[in-house]
Symmetry: C2
Subunit: 219 residues, 2 copies
């Protein structure tokens, strides 16, 4: 690996970390906008998506330039391809943060003031999964990546609980159907974000170990 | 472009078409399993996912080998990268077909026999979007790809209608909450499949025109 190529890899890692930080902020603020019924914060998350999209395109262009310029093979090639795919997943997590912010805005017009699901725990765990999966990529640590799969099982359980709670609460108070369906939507967006983190983690394990473990962590 | 590389591109196109055909079949059968409350068919869709996953990995490996062996640049490089990303989207459409099949199994235990949403129209349109986006890739036709974005707007409207129908029906008959939430889940999976088709179409426009139109078709 030449010095130039090494620098290029370092620069890509930094950019992926930067994109992740942008998306983490959006996600944190989206969840807070739900909790506080804060329309201004939700609007901020929605507006921030443009910069995230632009940065994703920049990272992809960097990957293409690196491929064209250095023609990497073997593990170097795999690394660039993994970054390309992971870049895509992170951007989609950003889209889901926007979806959560949009739900926050709908919730403002709806009745209940409480948050009956485990949404704070669920969003904390989801954020931790995103961080850990990217951390695993930067450190090329398959062990760290595998932990993400275990965390995903807990997210799935939490989402199933939310579903059951919504079902029983709506049966009791049908007037709250809009409220619960919106809240359930947020739970589902978090579950999808956790899925993207799991995809990232699978790509990292594949990258580090070269085995096809993809499609085996999550079922 | 050397003859060998040309053959490699042709082989990749054939494989992407094959993967798409597998996923189209799963999606068609998943939707039919919902309509007919057919558990055996739903189980078939769930079982077929393993072959889809394996084939996705094979296409990705082919892309990596092509990159390592032919070191393509410019538009050839972009094509391989687009195939890599699109391959990923198709596989995720397969996952969503499995999700629909799982919902079909839940619906069997639930009460109502009718399908109150526009699910047949929605699934037909979604399938047409998947076909058209891949057709656009094979033909390198940006015009065709752009049509997918317009179709996606109709899917979004249909999903919003499903949501409103569910809300008003549950208010009227709270006992049917489980039934409607499951049906709404199917509508949402179809909407996500349509999103993946739109992502594919955006990648094709980007590939053909070289402009950054991504993140501009869909908002």
């Amino acid at each position: 690996m030449t010095k130039h190529f090494e620098n290029q890899i370092e620069s890509l890692k930094k950019k992926i970390l930067h994109l992740t930080a942008m998306v983490e902020q959006s996600l944190t603020e989206a969840v807070r906008s739900v909790r506080d019924r804060d329309i201004a914060l939700a609007d901020k998350v929605i507006a921030a998506d443009e910069s995230i999209d632009e940065f994703e395109v920049e990272v992809e262009e960097d990957c293409l330039k690196t491929l064209a310029l250095y023609q990497p093979v073997a593990s170097d090639l795999r690394f660039i391809i993994a970054v390309l795919k992971i870049n895509n997943d992170i951007e989609r997590i950003g889209d889901l943060a926007v979806n959560i912010a949009q739900r926050a805005k709908s919730l403002v017009t709806l009745k209940s003031e409480d948050n009956p699901f485990e949404l704070p725990e669920m969003s904390e765990l989801t954020l931790a999964m995103v961080k850990k999966s990217i951390d695993a990529l930067i450190k090329m640590d398959a062990g760290l990546a595998r932990e993400v799969g275990t965390m995903d099982d807990r997210i799935d359980d939490m989402h199933k609980n939310a579903y059951r709670t919504a079902e029983s609460e709506i049966s009791k108070s049908p007037k709250l159907v809009g409220y619960y369906i919106n809240l359930l939507g947020i739970s589902r967006y978090l579950e999808r974000i956790a899925d993207h983190a799991t995809n990232i983690a699978e790509d990292v394990v594949y990258l580090v170990e070269g085995n096809i473990i993809r499609h085996q962590i999550v079922e």
